[in-house]
């Protein structure tokens, strides 16, 4: 079949709300964009295990420890699931990891900020996972079957993460003065990075009409950001934390909150690799990979020996 005809059918399918499946024909640009998005997402999940993993050994109660372990285990599971989904596009996990380790592939800039106190674990669940959900519920309606199904499942677990984070913050905000201060400090540090993690504003990031038509991207960054802010500001008010944006106000006419200027310079610096933890996070991943090499080699060698024995038996 001619390519123009294939493209026409592909687009008709998407317009009709059908999903594209791994063995279906797809334009190269579609495949590439999805590999980029899905691998970035997978990398974010596993790099994200580091800042949260930091606090497992120091979680202040057995209940908190168990919840945090369960949450971080979920993140690892999401990573695994997303790598597998990405593999349906004809690239393997090894190659994707090499791209991460060489710095070629990106992951969410948010994980290049440090987790300094216990309250940061609350802030990450509440804000970072909260922002991610906004983005991911949109992506769940995307056109690529394996990715959209992964999103549905991941969003369910992220909702639990979001609630546990908010619950930590609520508990701290109602606690001793020191706990309240800890919560406000974490909120101050994570607020701006969280609203920035949804991507540059629309005027700096014109949405490709094609990606929207192909249902790879579902909504503009600013639209998702607005939804996140509208949801989060009242939550902060409810537990008595102050949004660290003096310009933040509610617009009665539009029914939306309006935020002050975002420091995009900081955002682009972190993306470029100059955030507080970029080098540390990447190094941790590279070292884990390097230190694990002999383990993986042993597993491969053992499996080969077993296969050989079986063949001979």
């Amino acid at each position: 079949m001619e390519e123009s005809k294939q493209l026409e059918q592909f687009e008709a399918k998407i317009a009709a709300g059908q999903k594209i499946e791994p063995k279906d024909w797809m334009p190269e640009a579609y495949r590439k964009q999805l590999i980029r998005m899905m691998s970035q997402h997978a990398h974010s999940e596993i790099v994200g295990m580091l800042p949260e993993g930091n606090w497992i050994t120091r979680a202040p109660s057995l209940r908190r420890k168990a919840i945090l372990l369960a949450k971080v285990q979920d993140e690892g599971g999401h990573g695994l699931y997303l790598y597998s989904a990405a593999e349906t596009l004809g690239i393997d996990r090894k190659e994707l990891l090499e791209q991460l380790h060489s710095g070629k592939a990106k992951y969410s800039s948010i994980f290049n900020y440090p987790t300094l106190t216990w309250a940061d674990i609350g802030a990450i669940g509440w804000l970072v996972d909260g922002a991610a959900i906004m983005n991911q519920t949109a992506l769940a309606r995307g056109s690529y079957g394996p990715y959209s199904r992964a999103m549905v499942r991941i969003c369910k677990e992220e909702s639990f993460h979001n609630r546990q984070g908010y619950e930590i913050m609520m508990h701290l905000a109602q606690g001793t003065p020191e706990q309240k201060e800890m919560a406000q400090d974490a909120f101050n540090r994570w607020w701006w990075p969280s609203i920035m993690m949804l991507g540059p504003s629309d005027d700096q990031s014109p949405n490709s009409e094609q990606l929207m038509r192909w249902k790879v991207k579902m909504e503009s960054n600013d639209a998702i950001r607005e939804r996140f802010i509208d949801r989060t500001v009242p939550q902060a008010d409810f537990i008595g934390l102050k949004v660290p944006d003096p310009a933040m106000k509610f617009n009665e006419k539009t029914g939306h909150y309006e935020h002050g200027p975002i420091n995009w310079e900081e955002f682009f610096e972190v993306i470029k690799g100059n955030g507080v933890c970029n080098a540390i996070r990447l190094k941790a991943r590279v070292e884990a990979d390097k230190k694990g090499q002999w383990v993986r080699e042993a597993a491969t060698a053992y499996a080969a020996k077993q296969a050989k024995e079986k063949a001979m038996a």
């Binding site: 596993i46 295990m49 580091l50 993993g53 497992i56 050994t57 120091r58 202040p60 109660s61 057995l62 209940r63 908190r64 420890k65 168990a66 372990l69 369960a70 971080v72 285990q73 690892g76 599971g77 990573g79 695994l80 790598y83 216990w118 508990h171 606690g175 001793t176 020191e178 706990q179 941790a284 070292e287 884990a288 230190k291 694990g292 090499q293 002999w294 383990v295 993986r296 080699e297 042993a298 597993a299 491969t300 060698a301 053992y302 499996a303 020996k305």
Partner: protein, 252 residues
């Protein structure tokens, strides 16, 4: 020592061991040799924290002084901890972690098997639930014993070294004192000589199948029953307990 005191001590032994080995496994988070193992180790750590929580809750109840499981976990110091010396040993490389876990999993597999019929109903109920988890843990570590023992030359060497280094902590697993005497008499605890027999048999089988050798038993470390630990435990507790100790009036 009366029955109540003996039971409290016994529950601390079981609960503390789970808590401490769970802590060690959770240190791997994000640093495992492959994503699947990262997930497995966190999952296993979570089982241990759950088990510790159940045991320490019951310990607090048996003690009857109004303490909670968190008081017991976070506000006891080195000499009050009753975890096995093996469980507090640092992670080392993956061979050390797997060897430590294997030796411990075989132990708890046979120990909890017996505890399922303890005359103490709560202990029996916890043992039933835990034994299902331990069965999976042991399968996981046994498979890794084979892979690393019979994998490459390097993995074999690392695994043998790990076993040699950890072996001296195994006599501590089977140490018994007055606590055991009182509880065995009541049908609550297990005669560890019986567990030892089963443990030795299984450990020998797996080590031989993994082309490894049983280490020489030159040094025999004991002491966990009296809260005499290796130097590592203090550092671990300092990290684990720092928040509740820093903010004594807060709850989390």
């Amino acid at each position: 020592m009366n029955l109540q005191e003996a039971k409290f001590e016994y529950l601390l032994r079981l609960g503390d061991s789970s808590l401490i080995i769970g802590h060690r496994l959770s240190e791997w988070c994000g640093h495992g040799p492959i994503l699947e193992e990262d997930i497995a180790l966190i999952n296993i750590a979570l089982d241990f924290v759950g088990n510790a929580s159940a045991l320490l809750t019951y310990a607090a109840q048996v003690e009857g002084k109004g303490r909670t499981e968190d008081d017991l976990a976070y506000l006891r110091s080195e000499r009050e901890y009753r975890n096995l010396l093996l469980t507090e040993q640092p992670n080392g490389d993956y061979a050390v972690t797997i060897a430590r876990q294997f030796l411990y999993d075989v132990y708890t597999f046979f120990l909890y098997e017996e505890l399922k019929t303890s005359k103490d109903e709560t202990i029996a109920a916890i043992a039933v639930k835990s034994h299902k988890e331990i069965t999976y843990h042991l399968r996981h570590t046994t498979e890794w014993m084979y892979r690393l023992g019979d994998g490459t030359e390097e993995s074999h060497k690392r695994m043998q070294t790990a076993l040699n280094d950890l072996w001296m902590y195994t006599p501590d697993l089977f140490d018994m004192n007055e606590v055991d005497a009182i509880l065995i008499n009541e049908g609550i605890a297990v005669d560890l000589n019986k567990v030892k027999e089963a443990w030795e048999k299984r450990v020998r089988e797996v080590i031989s199948e993994a082309k490894l050798e049983i280490p020489a038993a030159n040094i025999k470390q004991k002491g966990s029953r009296e809260g005499r630990h290796s130097e590592h435990l203090g550092f671990l507790l300092a990290e684990m307990q720092y928040i509740p100790r820093s903010y004594p009036n807060a709850n989390w």
